[in-house]
Amino acid sequence: MSEPDRVELVRAAQRGDALAMQELLTLLTPYVGRLCGPIALADGPDATQEALIVIFRNLRQLAEPAAVFGWARAIAVREAVRVARSAGRARPSELPEVPAKGDPQLAADIRDVLDRLAPEHRAVLVLRDLEGLDEQTVGGLLDVPTGTVKSRLFRARRSFRKAWGR
């Protein structure tokens, strides 16, 4: 879908056109599911549903329809962390920090890495590795200072390698 078409679709959905809302839902659901899946894990469908409800309830507040994916991403990540936390499934993280970018274990068994991280750290990993965002943007989205993201990532290299190197 071209950007002008997408902007028009968002505007129609903002006006309450249910068929446009449905089409936008079809467009956004896979994206939101890709973000919520790795953060909320077993609660991924619940997180995706909650995130999409927040997105569609607040759609009229989106001033820049062209920015719909970035706007949806911020909501999805926040909702995924919240749902994962409130589900009470979060195990005490064995990996206290996020593994370094490009670490071969990420590719080898991402699910195991995610299982061993806290939801907030999964969110850092998703935003950095899946979405390709820089530390400043990740910090902004998660409402933590860039320095915190940087130090987490720096310390992560050691702790992650130690955990995997046993």
């Binding site: 809302m21 839902l25 894990l41 469908p45």
Partner: protein, 158 residues
Amino acid sequence: MTPNWPVADLDPVRRLAVLAEAIPGAVFAEDVLDAPFDQVWAVAGDLENALPALLTDVRSMRFVEHDGERLVAEARSHLGLRDRFDVVLRPGWCLMQSGRLIGGMAAVADGDRTRFGFLGGLRLPGTRLAGPALRRLGRPIGRRFLRRLGERVAEVTG
């Protein structure tokens, strides 16, 4: 090697529930019907026959245009009112909208049974303000629709 990230999916019934939450005053009802998906959708997806049988206000429904999964349907009420609906219809999903009304159905297989969702809503000025009251008033419509659908599926499948 690229990591194989887990992805969360949202089935059609959950998608319909999202729309219902976003449409002011919309009614949503969900139930598990004791019949396989194919049998349930054969009844529910046959809109021209199903809707007059399942909704008390609808006397007839007729497709007047057809383009893939996009359709245009004309409905008539028992009072003689006419409404023209834009419809999206595919297996497990139906959403329809006129100038005044929104309707939706979604179904997903649940083993040998079927999880089914119903959505009904108004497109009138003031529905945003009256949303909570409309939801309360409309709840029986959704429950009745699902009960009748279950009965009709049982009749058809014997």
